[in-house]
């Protein structure tokens, strides 16, 4: 049976821009670059709109392409990595202090220092609330690899938190 769903580009942008921007921002750590990546993702969606079959498909497609384009953008920016982490520290601090608890903003900053693959797995797990199987599908990676990235990423993040957020750990 043919699907009667007709994708509306502007509506899809309104519905998913927060998700796409957040993924790109957490992967690149750069607000301007994340905005550019998000725009690229939606322009690619516009060119492939006829292939989108359902709202669920659109959601999955956007998530997958956002992660892929963010990784591409990171690769292009890698030569500037030393400068970038300094920017990330400053930007994350400035933005998240407004909206999050002090711990929240620091966890976010620490997350940005993780290896890319682990960060991708953690972002999809904790921002998008995906299961390891869904993360494996989104990143087109083996399930065992994703589980390993999740475990190692969480362990590394916890270790960094224990070092950098002593007051929080003691406070608990």
């Amino acid at each position: 049976m043919a699907s009667s769903w007709q994708p509306d580009f502007e509506q899809l942008v309104d519905e998913h821009q927060s998700m796409v921007f957040s993924l790109a921002y957490r992967m690149t750590g750069d607000r301007g670059l994340a905005e550019e990546v998000a725009q690229d993702v939606f322009l690619e969606l516009d060119r492939n709109l006829r292939k989108i079959e359902s709202p669920l498909h659109a959601n999955h497609w956007l998530r997958r392409v956002a992660m892929s384009r963010s990784a591409d953008a990171l690769r292009r920016r890698r030569v500037r990595s030393m400068d970038m982490w300094v920017e990330i520290e400053e930007q994350h601090g400035a933005i998240f202090e407004e909206r999050l608890s002090p711990l929240g903003s620091r966890v976010e900053t620490l997350l940005a220092t993780l290896p890319e693959a682990q960060r991708a797995a953690l972002v999809l797990r904790y921002q998008e609330d995906l299961t390891p199987e869904e993360i494996a599908t989104t990143l087109d990676a083996p399930l065992a690899t994703v589980k390993s990235h999740l475990q190692r990423g969480l362990k590394l993040l916890r270790a960094k938190a224990a070092t950098h957020l002593k007051e929080y750990v003691r406070g608990r």
Binding site: E10, D14, S18, Q39, D46, S101, V107, L122, Y126, R158
Partner: protein, 109 residues
């Protein structure tokens, strides 16, 4: 051990809370729609250019075909005229041969 598990849960909970979706800046959609318009204009421009190129190629093909056809037709007409001249010459030659034969016959008498 229980304390550790509790701490892990707290940590993951805090992580989840810290990683909620962020609101996209208004400039994202504004810029996106502007880029989309520009991309569509460029795409339309490319389409128009392609259409013009295709039309030019068709016109050039038609003109070239007409030229080739006209040359072939002139060549055919020329050949036809040549054959007619040859036929006329053959007839003349035959008539002259007959006249010569008659004259030779009269001379021998």
């Amino acid at each position: 051990m229980c304390v550790d598990v509790e701490r892990i849960d707290d940590f993951e909970r805090e992580l989840r809370a810290a990683m909620h979706r962020l609101p996209a800046p208004p400039s994202l959609k504004r810029g996106l729609m502007a880029r989309r318009r520009q991309e569509r204009t460029e795409r339309h421009g490319r389409l128009v250019w392609f259409e013009r190129l295709a039309a030019s190629l068709v016109l050039a093909g038609v003109a070239g075909g007409a030229l080739v056809w006209r040359n072939a037709e002139e060549h055919r007409k020329g050949e036809e005229a040549k054959q007619q001249v040859f036929a006329a010459l053959r007839i003349t030659h035959h008539a002259l041969e007959e006249m010569k034969a008659q004259l030779d016959e009269r001379d021998t008498k």
